[in-house]
């Protein structure tokens, strides 16, 4: 497949993957999760990776985020190839350049919201007092200025995810990787979370890659990449198109189920 972004100059590309292949295990038990992925993510873009479970979405963002090595192919983030870096440089680069939002939040339960948000700054060597002050500002930016001193257990799921978003943004990373950020939340909260991510996360020099199953949030994407069986099977610039496809599949499945039960 020829990429429509292939012609773009490197300075407009945040993530560039070419022929990325990743397998787990060896011999007869080997499972290939990615089969020659070609993908570009533009700067200033919110890209969603969608596809059925086990299609390789999570493996792909792990490779993009530099926490998993591909077996073959090349993947660069703002021109830097993680695989070519030494371990220490890779960790440092990841700490400075990438923000993470996880499905299960992964907040440290014994740290307050502000302390949790300050962690990336501490990792990057900022003094604690300064980091806490900056973290509180970031929390205010996601509407949680009043809950800075609350522990995660004292917050709702949506609030915890907002804390996680603040944590992902606080050190001003250039790439934000989100793994199913709304799947643990109800519809209204999920919409709110996406509005926040869209509002404070998207910037001209930053890219967001979101892995999701949730077709209710497709309208927030600039571009949607469909994956199946470890491959990119389509790219849609219109979220409505993908949602229509998803609805059609769901409707078809429902009709088949009804017919089977009648017969």
């Amino acid at each position: 497949m020829t990429l429509e972004t292939a012609h773009l100059p490197a300075d407009q590309i945040a993530v560039r993957c070419r022929g990325v292949t990743k397998s787990y295990g060896q011999g007869s038990s080997q499972v290939t999760a990615l089969r020659g992925i070609d993908l570009d993510v533009r700067r200033g873009e919110l890209l969603m990776l969608v596809g059925p479970s086990g299609c390789g979405k999570t493996t792909l963002i792990s490779v993009i985020a530099g926490i998993l090595d591909q077996n073959r192919g090349e993947c660069t983030v703002f021109g830097h190839d993680f695989k070519a870096m030494r371990q220490n440089d890779r960790t440092k680069y990841r700490g400075q350049m990438i923000g993470f939002v996880f499905q299960s939040f992964n907040l440290l339960p014994t740290l307050t919201a502000a302390e949790n948000v300050s962690v990336p700054l501490l990792i990057n060597g900022m003094p604690r007092r300064q980091a806490l002050a900056k973290a509180k500002k970031e929390l205010a930016g996601v509407g949680l200025g009043e809950r800075a001193n609350s522990l995660p257990a004292e917050l709702s799921g949506g609030q915890q995810q907002r804390v996680a978003i603040a944590r992902a943004l606080v050190h001003d990373p250039k790439l934000i990787v989100c793994d199913e950020p709304t799947s643990a939340l109800d519809h209204a909260t999920g919409q709110k979370i996406m509005e926040i991510l869209r509002g404070v996360g998207v910037a001209s020099d930053r890219a967001l890659v979101i892995v999701t199953h949730d077709n209710r949030i497709f309208q927030f994407a600039d571009r949607i990449v469909k994956m199946d069986d470890g491959q990119v099977v389509g790219t849609l610039d219109s979220p409505d198109e993908l949602r229509a496809q998803a609805d059609a599949v769901r409707t078809g499945a429902a009709e088949r189920t009804t017919e089977e039960s009648v017969s």
């Binding site: 999570t58 963002i61 792990s62 985020a65 926490i67 998993l68 371990q87 220490n88 960790t91 440092k92 680069y93 990841r94 700490g95 400075q96 990438i98 993470f100 996880f102 499905q103 299960s104 992964n106 440290l108 339960p109 014994t110 740290l111 302390e115 962690v119 990336p120 501490l122 990792i123 990057n124 604690r128 793994d179």
Partner: protein, 384 residues
């Protein structure tokens, strides 16, 4: 990130207290048992260390420790005095004699006979009376613990009355009058110590051909003790030890020939093993529970070295608190038992050894956690 490590640790109260308690228990058991061992072994040479004045102890070559008396002929004293470099030499009697108490019961006493002229070798501290009172007829000085305990007079109220100057004893069928009460180091056998003069002690003692237990020697100023010791041995055919040498000989005799070390070593080892097991298991389980958090930190760019430092900091913190609590409790138990027969001596060397043991426990406890975190795949954070 130290702050994050500490909050992760103390935030989980149950685990945190579990680890601290494990290390406290280990520290307490190791320190207390070792302190009792040191105290007990110290009692083996209390009679030697109480005599500060002499430089060299001369004795029969077959003597193995302070209570292993093999008497010398009195003439040996004169031979020792004749050795070049000896400033003075005095006799010392040491033997076990039976004292008959007022109620008719007998009590074995550790009788020490001092040189009649100089009274060298007397108790380190007099509580009542004076050492010179030993020059009075039939006089003896009794240690305070013996006077208040095994040698105490029965009374009408049923509660024994401690011996005081003026009371009398019957030592081996000889009348002895208490003229003073002294304080001495406790001895291994815990028998009352009775001081008297050398001549009187030989009268109290059963008739034997030889009664001189030791010759205490003071070297002339500037005299090398090792040289003098060898000279005494060469001249007299006897054994001569510096005070520290005799202490060491006695200490090692008890160490090598009694079950004391092995019994205490088992207790100390038990404390070490149980402490390591409790602390290690709890610490590992704490790390396992926080594995996802460690994975998130790793994914967010925390270097593995920083994560290891965080774990070590957590181990150091619980180690320091557990050690402090354990040693504190050990000291408290020693203080509470200060007036009992329990021997408890806690020198700084022992505290250091105990601290090293706790460091080893902390390292062992955190090793599993460190291994787990080093091999932790940060992609774990993307798994449900």
């Amino acid at each position: 990130m130290n702050f994050v490590a500490l909050k992760m640790l103390v935030g989980d109260r149950a685990k945190y207290l579990g680890i601290v308690m494990g290390i406290t228990f280990a520290s307490l058991l190791i320190t207390q048992q070792a302190a009792i061992f040191v105290g007990l072994m110290g009692r083996t040479y209390g009679s030697i260390s109480d005599l500060g004045l002499p430089d060299i102890w001369v004795m029969d070559p077959k003597v193995q420790f302070i209570d292993d008396i093999k008497p010398l002929q009195d003439t040996q004293l004169l031979r020792v005095r004749g050795v070049k470099g000896v400033d003075w030499a005095v006799p010392l009697y040491k033997g076990l004699l039976k004292a008959r108490l007022e109620d008719g019961t007998f009590q074995t006493c550790n009788v020490i006979g001092l040189d009649d002229a100089t009274l060298i070798g007397g108790p380190p501290l007099m509580i009542k009376g004076k050492l010179e009172d030993l020059r009075r007829a039939d006089s003896v000085i009794v240690d305070d613990v013996g006077a208040a305990g095994k040698l105490a007079h029965p009374s009408a109220t049923g509660k024994p009355r401690p011996l005081v100057p003026g009371d009398t004893l019957e030592l081996n069928d000889h009348r002895a009058m208490v003229v003073g009460i002294c304080k001495v180091s406790r001895t291994f056998q815990s028998q009352p110590t009775v001081y008297t003069t050398y001549e009187r002690a030989t009268l109290f003692a059963p008739r034997e051909r030889k009664l001189l237990s030791f010759v205490l020697v003071k070297a002339k100023p500037g005299q090398d003790l090792a040289v003098l010791r060898h000279r005494i041995e060469a001249t007299t055919g006897l054994s001569a030890y510096t005070q520290q040498g005799f202490i060491n000989k006695t200490w090692w005799y008890f160490f090598d020939n009694t079950g004391i070390p092995i019994n205490f070593a088992i207790s100390v080892a038990l404390g070490f093993v149980v402490g390591t097991a409790i602390a290690g298991q709890t610490f590992y389980s704490f790390t396992l529970e926080n594995l996802r958090q460690f994975g998130a930190l790793k994914a967010m760019g925390t270097p593995t070295g920083t994560l290891l430092r965080m774990i070590l900091l957590q181990a150091v913190l619980v180690g320091a608190i557990g050690y402090g609590l354990g040693v504190g409790l050990a000291c408290l138990s020693g203080w509470a038992a200060r007036n009992t027969e329990l021997s408890f001596v806690l020198p700084w060397q022992l505290m250091l050894a105990s601290a090293l043991a706790i460091v080893v426990i902390c390292i062992l406890s955190s090793l599993l956690s460190i291994w787990k975190v080093i091999h932790l795949e940060p992609a774990i954070v993307f798994k449900q």
